[in-house]
Symmetry: C2
Subunit: 560 residues, 2 copies
């Protein structure tokens, strides 16, 4: 073995050793079982009370924790056991630190007992964190062999804030090396798979979070999203996930790829099994004035006024617009059905739904890739050269071995700063044009307002087989435009209604091949979701409008 | 003459021809008269009513305009005449369009007469605009010969907003070529000088605005500030000027240097003879939700709560900190006296004043220069090569002719995008460090809060002789940190109390030479000012705290 493979194997062994022996399962399902989503409930590791805890809605969980009805120690233990099951099923974790987390939970219980008061709005709640989010004393190797052994000297600002709010950071979760893939594999921890179908990807780059939260191994997770990295795993794993706008949630103190790349930066955002989890996270973080801890955070208070949809007629008779396709790549039948389901549900709830006309989505995404590509290869290489580990150039499983001995790159040749300025200028122009495009819809909504929110696919497909998730355009477009976007689960791939369907006109060859590659069997049980897209720094309204969509979907299902 | 000199001369002649003959003065003061600030009042061009108009405070002006007591036509005429006087004294204007402005004013009068209602919060108010701010149908050559003849096809977003608010854009004002100088000279319009002492610079890059507003040739001007370009002319010309933070005021639709340079961007900000002018501008622009017109504007409403100083103990017993020097270059005696005057006034008003400890100011400014320098030379050259005009490499008057035949550059060699990312990372780290530095002052203020605002020099000197304004560190540091900063006039250079003073220890040779170069005669009558520096996106509080400082100064003068 070369030096880097030895280092990587050592780290993986250490991780395995950090799992309490009693939580290792001997009754794991056979490899042929693709859908492991229901295994944890029946595997016998959790007590009935623990199962009740991990099934609770976030509101109930927080309320019982705040009242001391459930101790943080019990809640954290329940989720930890569940997370370790998830790990054994999907390989979703990186750092495991049971004792430390349980000790912290016990402290919180002690505080509540002594003072009668919760320590903050997230009192006692275990929270999982994407590997890049520093916790003092732990590593954040982020899938780079080169960063193994680098112990964080300080908490990320967000971790300080979450702890002050009473949360219990309890596991860190898996990512792709470089973070710049929409799947999750690296040389250190290996691959995370999709709990609904292990032959499919959990998505990425917050793919560990997606699989973990989906299996209720964490009530609330934090990922990051530079081009879809919160939303893709959320959608692929059937959970809720928010991409906030630049500067709403503090990023300071995290490790990252491409540091100093400010053209289209990464943002941190929550993943949860319900919208209450998303809202509690955002409000708790923003309420402590994070701009006093991270200078890149926008000085903008959490606005109950905006949450009440003051800019959207207070939520009555909204006009949504559906992006059926981006003019380049038509989504597979389950995605189109999901959009149709949302449309029907919203209309039944008294809202108007029109079609969204995409504007230059391909050009926007190409611009985005050029911005990152202006120096990404040099950035990755600067890290990888420390141990000689290869830069991963493919997420296809059988290609990893071949690549392992070759240093390879992704990304363009390094551009000049002047060239980068020109692309940034282009970005600004595209953002201006898109804003005018959105504002102009005031003419067709019938509400006196422009479209309130866009309902968009997250990808032209559900979770794909490993190595096949290559089109990030449906998420990346909103990153460049810096629109807040929230993923809402809708349904799952249905073998009957989501049958293959003929189509005779295509935007291009890729579109044709993509369409023809579909068959329901490959995507069996894969979750189907949409993202609700709002304006820049409109997180409050985006959460409120997502609640409207979510409730409409639930009412509509209840009626069936 | 070479081709570009012919083009430049043609433009200048056209400008001269746009001045109504009847407003050309035959009684201009001789060149030997340095202080022309009092000439306009006595020159005889303005009627008594017009003098009353141009002397009115902004509040009174707006109130009389809104009530129709003064017509916009009369007000605009008064300021136009005054502006043309200012032009003949200081050469502060670029585009002059009397008929168009007066026609617009008459329309507003008509509207008020018909409806009984002002069109918006700035009804009838003439507003001057820095040359780069596009007005449809006019040029914005920005001191570049190469851009002469390029007529704007659309208003800048800000101009649309100001017009909708009822303002009357009525002149455009002079700038240095490239905008990247803190003085005002270009090959097209020539040099703008300081109304208090024509041998001194008006500052730059919004130097036309500084001279014009100072002579009450405009009640409200709009400049831009990338490294001090609003604040330096404001301070040098003895008026108020605000540098808002990135994204508070819409920039879309302006021409600019270094477009796509997003590391430390330029911002637009107001200049006025009173703080009411600054506040009216900010509130009027933000109240129309400019984020719906320019995607780079932060979605943050004008906050009366923040203006009431909710984050600063509602303005009672504030703790200010004075930056006496930046640890690199000690300001000249008049500046130090100005800081002392503010200290005494604030203490007399019941506030606490401590010393501000600068943190890495030189390193911050060097980082800033490296960010811009990563591609500035290539940017300037791309414009200048269109006509072969030389890039201006010195603001020293006698050096211009020599340079005129040589293409020359400023700025570093072009960096790579990867190098730029590394400098941007450095910038982020410095911003984080400075935020911690500021927050840590909570230990020493005695208020339970960190320092409420910093009182800082704008430069280590008042307005300098032409070509000598070379140290921008006292303003640039706040641009990189993105702190809101407002210039408040304090006094003028006094030949007696501001005498030369011996000093025996110096930070470095530059500091020594700078100190020894001072004598009160050179800087005769030059205005002395300070800037009040607050936090990022804290414009409301910065205006409110500036009112506190301004009132304290006025009370303190009244007591003398």
């Amino acid at each position: 073995m070369s030096n880097w493979t030895i280092i990587a194997a050592g780290k993986k062994a250490k991780q395995q050793a950090s799992i309490p022996k009693k939580w290792l399962l001997s009754n794991l399902p056979p490899q042929s079982t693709l859908n492991v989503s229901e295994f944890p409930d029946g595997c016998g590791l959790l007590t009935d009370e623990e199962l009740q805890i991990i099934r609770a809605d976030t509101d109930i969980l927080l309320s019982k924790l705040a009242q001391g009805e459930w101790s943080s120690l019990n809640v954290t233990t329940a989720f930890y056991k569940r997370a370790i099951i998830a790990q054994q099923l999907t390989n979703c974790l990186t750092e495991i630190f049971v004792e430390r987390a349980l000790a912290r939970a016990a402290e919180l219980d002690e505080h509540l007992k002594k003072t009668g008061k919760p320590i903050g709005p997230l009192h006692g709640l275990p929270i999982s964190l994407k590997d890049q989010i520093n916790i003092k004393g732990l590593e954040s190797c982020m899938g780079y062999v080169s960063w193994i052994g680098k112990v964080a000297e300080e908490n990320a600002v967000l971790v300080d804030i979450l702890e002050a709010a009473g949360a219990v950071p309890f596991v860190k979760t898996n990512v792709p090396q470089t973070l710049m893939w929409a799947e999750t594999f690296n040389h250190v921890f290996g691959r995370t798979c999709n709990p609904y179908n292990c032959s499919l990807t959990s998505g990425g780059s917050s793919g560990g979070e997606g699989a973990l939260v989906s299996l209720r191994g964490s009530p609330l997770g934090v990922g990051s999203d530079i081009g879809g990295s919160v939303r893709i795993p959320s959608a692929f794993c059937g959970i809720y996930g928010l991409r906030p706008c630049y500067g709403r949630i503090p990023y300071a103190g995290c490790v990252n790829s491409m540091e100093g790349q400010d053209s289209v930066p990464s943002v941190l955002g929550p993943l949860s099994n319900d919208l209450a989890g998303i809202k509690h996270f955002m409000k708790a973080v923003i309420d402590v004035k994070p701009w006093l801890k991270d200078p890149l955070v926008v000085r903008k208070r959490w606005s109950e006024e905006e949450y009440s949809l003051v800019d959207h007629g207070y939520g009555k008779n909204l006009c949504f617009a559906i992006l059926w396709d981006d003019g380049d790549n038509v989504p597979h039948p389950p995605i189109l059905r999901g959009l149709g389901t949302v449309k029907k549900a919203l209309e039944a709830a008294g809202h108007r739904v029109i079609d969204w006309k995409p504007l230059k989505h391909v050009e926007i995404c190409k611009t985005l890739v050029n911005l990152w590509g202006s120096a990404s290869a040099e950035d990755y290489q600067a890290v990888a050269m420390l141990t000689g580990e290869p830069i991963i150039a493919s997420m296809v499983p059988e290609q990893h071995a071949a690549l392992a001995e070759n240093i390879s790159y992704r990304g363009n040749e390094t551009a000049s700063a002047y060239q980068l300025w020109q692309i940034q200028k282009k970005k600004r122009d595209l953002r201006e044009e898109y804003l005018r495009h959105w504002e102009a819809t005031v003419e067709i909504t019938g509400t006196g307002r422009p479209v309130d929110a866009i309902i968009s696919p997250i990808a032209p497909h559900t979770a794909t087989p490993h190595g096949m998730n290559k089109n990030g355009n449906y998420t990346m477009v909103w990153n460049l435009l810096d629109y807040a976007a929230l993923v809402i689960p809708v349904s799952k791939v249905d073998q009957v209604v989501d049958a293959r369907r003929p189509r005779h006109e295509f935007y291009n060859d890729t579109d044709r091949m993509h369409w023809e590659s579909y068959n329901p069997e490959t995507y069996k049980d894969a979750p189907v979701a949409v993202q609700l897209v709002g304006r820049t720094l409109e997180e409050e309204a985006v959460i409120a409008m997502s609640e409207i969509v979510d409730n409409a979907l639930k009412s509509s299902k209840a009626r069936l």
